[in-house]
C-alpha cells in the first residue's frame, strides 16, 4: 500500500562482486528472516532491504501527514460539537502516526529533512487515495469506513514485519486506528438510519466516489507488482495485494448491508464456488495517473505541505536559537 511507484523506480544496480564476508552476513540474515527473527536498527542488513524499508516507511509516514488534509478540511464544518471533537482527535492521531513512522524510518539512517525534501520534490510518494477531494460531510464518514478500513487491513499484518521498529510502530498505530473506522461507520449509520432522503443520497454518492479508489489502495495486481516478491521473502510484506483486496471486499459487503448502501460495481456478487465475492475490473489507468501526479488534488496536497513547511521555518529556527542562547548563558 505504501510502496506505490516502487515498481516504476529505477532498477537497483546489485554489486556483482561481493566479499566472502558479506555473502556470509547475507546468508545469516536470510536465516534469521526464515526463522521469523526480528531485525533491529543496528543489525547488519542487505543494502536493498534497508533502501526498501526507508522508502516504504517514509511513504507510509508521508501518507499519514498528507492524509490529515482531506479530513482537516471538514473540521470547521462538522455538523455537531461531538463530530468536531471526534474528527479533531482522528486528525491529531494521523499526525501522531506520521511522527511514529518518521521516527522508525530514521532508525535506518535517513533524516527528517531528507524525507521531507523527497516528499516535496515528488521523489517520494504517498498513498494515492489522499489525492481525492472531500466534497460532502458524508465523505468524512466514508473515509473512516472504507479508507481507514483498507489501511487497517494492510497494517495488521505489518505488526509482524521483520523490521522491528516498523512493526512496533504498527502495533501502536493499530491500537489507535480502530476507532477511526468505527467513528466513520457510526456517522454513516446515523445518516442512513435517521437521516433525510437527501442525507441518505449524500451517503450513497460519497460511497460511489470512494469505492474504486479504496480498492486501488492495495496496489497493483500481484502479477504486476514486481518488488512484492522480494518484500515477501524478506518478511516485510506478509500478505499479497490481491489477497488483501479480496479480504477487504468481502468484509465491506457485509458492512454495506448493515448500512443499506450499494457499491458502484454491477459485477459485485457472491461466488459460492470460490467462497468470496467476485468484483469488476479496476481502472488501473486511473491509478497510475493519480500515482504519477495527475489526480484531482495532487498539486493542492503538495502545495499545502510545502507552504506549511516553509511558513514554519522561522518557528523551527527560533526554537533552536532560543535553546542555543539558553545553553550559552548556562555555560557562562
Amino acid at each position: 500500500m505504501y510502496t506505490q511507484a516502487m515498481d516504476t523506480a529505477p532498477k537497483e544496480e546489485r554489486k556483482a562482486v561481493r566479499s566472502a564476508e558479506e555473502a556470509e552476513l547475507e546468508r545469516r540474515f536470510d536465516a534469521r528472516i526464515d526463522a521469523g527473527d526480528f531485525i533491529e536498527a543496528k543489525d547488519w542488513m542487505p543494502g536493498h532491504y534497508r533502501k526498501t524499508l526507508v522508502r516504504q516507511i517514509s511513504q507510509h509516514a508521508h501518507s499519514e501527514i498528507v492524509g490529515m488534509l482531506p479530513e482537516g478540511n471538514w473540521i470547521s464544518r462538522a455538523p455537531t460539537l461531538k463530530r468536531k471533537a471526534i474528527l479533531l482527535a482522528k486528525v491529531q492521531d494521523e499526525g501522531g502516526h506520521g511522527l511514529y513512522l518518521y521516527a522508525a524510518a530514521e532508525t535506518l539512517g535517513t533524516s527528517r529533512d531528507e524525507m521531507i525534501e523527497a516528499l516535496h520534490s515528488g521523489k517520494a510518494k504517498y498513498s494515492s487515495i489522499f489525492n481525492y477531494p472531500t466534497l460532502t460531510w458524508a465523505d468524512i464518514g466514508t473515509i473512516g469506513w472504507l479508507v481507514d478500513g483498507a489501511a487497517i487491513m494492510n497494517q495488521v499484518p505489518l505488526t509482524r514485519c521483520s523490521y522491528a521498529p516498523y512493526a512496533r510502530a504498527m502495533v501502536r498505530v493499530c491500537r489507535e486506528e480502530s476507532f477511526h473506522q468505527r467513528q466513520g461507520f457510526d456517522s454513516l449509520l446515523v445518516m442512513m438510519q435517521k437521516g433525510t432522503r437527501e442525507q441518505k443520497a449524500m451517503v450513497q454518492d460519497a460511497v460511489n466516489r470512494w469505492w474504486w479508489p479504496s480498492l486501488m489502495m492495495f496496489g497493483p495486481p500481484d502479477s504486476e507488482s514486481t518488488h512484492s516478491a522480494q518484500s515477501m521473502r524478506w518478511g516485510i510484506k506478509r500478505i499479497s495485494n490481491d489477497d488483501l483486496r479480496q479480504k477487504f471486499v468481502d468484509a465491506c459487503m457485509e458492512q454495506a448491508k448493515v448500512l443499506g448502501v450499494t457499491f458502484p460495481d454491477p459485477l459485485l456478487k457472491w461466488n459460492e464456488a470460490r467462497g468470496h465475492h467476485d468484483f469488476g475490473p479496476i481502472d488501473w489507468d486511473e491509478f497510475w495517473r493519480v500515482v504519477g501526479g495527475d489526480g484531482p488534488c495532487n498539486r493542492d496536497r503538495i502545495a499545502a505541505r510545502v507552504k506549511a513547511w516553509d511558513d514554519g521555518a522561522w518557528v523551527r529556527d527560533a526554537a533552536l536559537a532560543h535553546e542555543r542562547k539558553r545553553a550559552m548563558k548556562e555555560a557562562a
Binding site: 533491529e40 543496528k42 543489525d43 547488519w44 491529531q92 492521531d93 501522531g96 511522527l99 511514529y100 521516527a103 522508525a104 530514521e106 532508525t107 533524516s111 527528517r112 529533512d113 521498529p165 512496533r168 510502530a169 501502536r172 491500537r175 489507535e176 523551527r316 529556527d317 526554537a319 533552536l320 532560543h322 535553546e323 539558553r326
Partner: protein
C-alpha cells in the same frame, strides 16, 4: 545550514508498578519541548504516568555485531536456570 532539531528517545511508564518502556523517538529543540512533545505524541491514550526523554546521542548501547561475543559468557552457564536442578516432587514448586 541544516537546522534540524536534535533527536530524543522516549521512555514511558504506563502504570505505577511497571518499568519505563522505550516507545520511539522524536525531534525537539530543548528538554522542556521534548517532554511536552513526548506526552503529545506517545501518550494520547493515557498510556503514561511518567515520561523520560534522553537525547539520542547520550544513549550508550552494546554493539549488536558483538552480540555473540558480548553475551556468550552467559550462554553456557546453565546452572543459572531453575530447570537445571531436579528436586523431589513434594518440594518441586520451589
Amino acid at each position: 545550514m541544516k537546522t534540524e532539531w536534535p533527536l530524543w528517545e522516549v521512555f514511558v511508564r504506563s502504570k505505577a508498578g511497571l518499568d519505563h518502556k522505550h516507545c520511539g523517538s522524536l525531534h525537539a529543540a530543548d528538554p522542556k519541548m521534548a517532554i511536552q512533545l513526548a506526552r503529545d505524541v506517545y501518550t494520547r491514550r493515557q498510556e503514561g504516568t511518567s515520561v523520560w526523554v534522553v537525547r539520542s546521542d547520550q544513549i550508550v548501547a552494546s554493539d549488536p555485531g558483538d552480540k555473540d561475543m558480548y553475551f556468550d559468557p552467559a550462554e553456557d552457564k546453565v546452572y543459572r536456570h531453575p530447570t537445571f536442578y531436579e528436586l523431589p516432587e513434594s518440594v518441586n514448586h520451589m
